[in-house]
Amino acid sequence: MTDVVVEARGVIKNFGTLHVLKGIDLTIRRGEVTCIIGPSGSGKSTFLRCINQLESLDGGYIIVAGEPVGVKLKNGRVEAQSNVESARSRENIGMVFQSFNLFPHMTVLENICEAPIRVKKENRAIVRKRALTLLDRVGLVSKAQTYPAALSGGQQQRVAIARALAMEPRLMLFDEPTSALDPELVGEVLDVMRGLADAGMTMVVVTHEMGFAREVGDHLIFMDEGLVIEHGNPRTVLNSPAHDRTKQFLAKVL
């Protein structure tokens, strides 16, 4: 069981009276790329945000790398984590957002170095070297001293990926990483993600890019109205979906 990175069981999330997640079960093993597709409002982004506690759970549990998310077991009871404990558990989970969310007042290099230096208290020179290696990997070494506003959307997203990788996470979450990009910039971001998958990173990707899901994904999950409707090999799900709702969704997007 040691190679299970994410174990989610019966995950429930409500926003007031709105039931966003109605019991999600999911297991993700080390090195796997899991793509989540589904119509907007299906709860796929919310589920992703539950994994690193940007949303709290209203039911069920998630275990990431052997640690329960948001809670701790103490004297045979479940207790909520403190803010500091929550922050510590997020260190192992990288996240990439639809809207990049780079820090606009810092250069590209500062964006990448900030968390390793401030959170992990790592040596500046070592972090800087690692940051430049990561920038090289996403093809943006020449932009190290640039501010995010001067970069294209695709470049910003590649920096955001490098920033998340700088914390050396065990798991990477991608929340519609290419949805805010102009069509001609999608490819460069997907290439970086493909390289990351090839390098063996465990990834959960909420996406509308069916091509990426088909070629890179090990698993494809179709969610609708807060439930996992279909789960399987990407080719199988995309080519011959078993459920009517999956068929209807794919007919619209493919």
Partner: protein
Amino acid sequence: MSATTNESSSDVASGDGIDRTLLLGRPHRRHGLQWLTAGIVLFVIFMVAYSLVTNPRFEWDVVFGWFASERLFSGLIRTLELTAISMVVGILVGIILALARLAPNFVIAGVASFFVWFFRGVPVFVQLLFWGFIAAIYPRISLGIPFGPEFFSVDANVLITPFLAAILGLGLNEGAYMSEIVRAGLLSVNRGQTEAAKALGMRRLTILWRIVLPQAMKVIIPPTGNQTISMLKTTSLVSVLAFPELLYSAQLVYSANFKTIPLLIAASLWYLLVTSVLSLGQYYIERHYNRGSGKQQKKSILTRFMTKARSQTLTPGEQP
């Protein structure tokens, strides 16, 4: 109908009487009215300047005699001290109040809102008087266990000097206004910034200090600069506490020599000089906090005037 693929300016076959070749030229601008208004304004300025120079009651020799005097200068130093300390107190109180008002604990948020309501609602002049007369309300100020023994007790008139009364009055009042400015700044930062920082494992204080506050500064700095300039002038109210800042120093002089107007002018010139320097400082601080936004700082009137003058000496079509 033939397709209009071969459009050109000479194609005036539409018969609407509009000469396309003329439309291609840039419109001719008329400056007559601008010259007229500028002339009238310049004439008014000349008249004012003329009266300033020729009216003997301004007593310019007295103004400049006292302007650089030791007494006004020491008053100016006290005004600057008051301004700086009150602003520091105001900013600190403002940050604490802003954070308190955004706190999830509604008792804390409520108390902070009450503080702001009270200190914004009572005129600062009245607040200064209250602090000045604090001994009438609390003759002795003590430190100890509530309803228990006292460790330390002091006469309020000894502890709350006019200087401290001024700092308390100005600083707490300023804190109420600064809290609104800081709160607006904190709220102006995109939620995604906090989420991205959280996702990187950053602690709450680090997020506030490294991510949110620096971005909020862009919104906080300009009004804070205005508040500082405003504070410099508000310190003149402290003259009512008989604290010899700039205005009260001038008043002390003219109450002895009856040169009221020249001394008020001398004090005003100092206020003008310092506010000008502060405005310049604000420009550079704003430029610092705008880095990374890709936005050009708005040019000052002087720079705009110079650029325009230069571009007008170039021949049309040439790029400056």
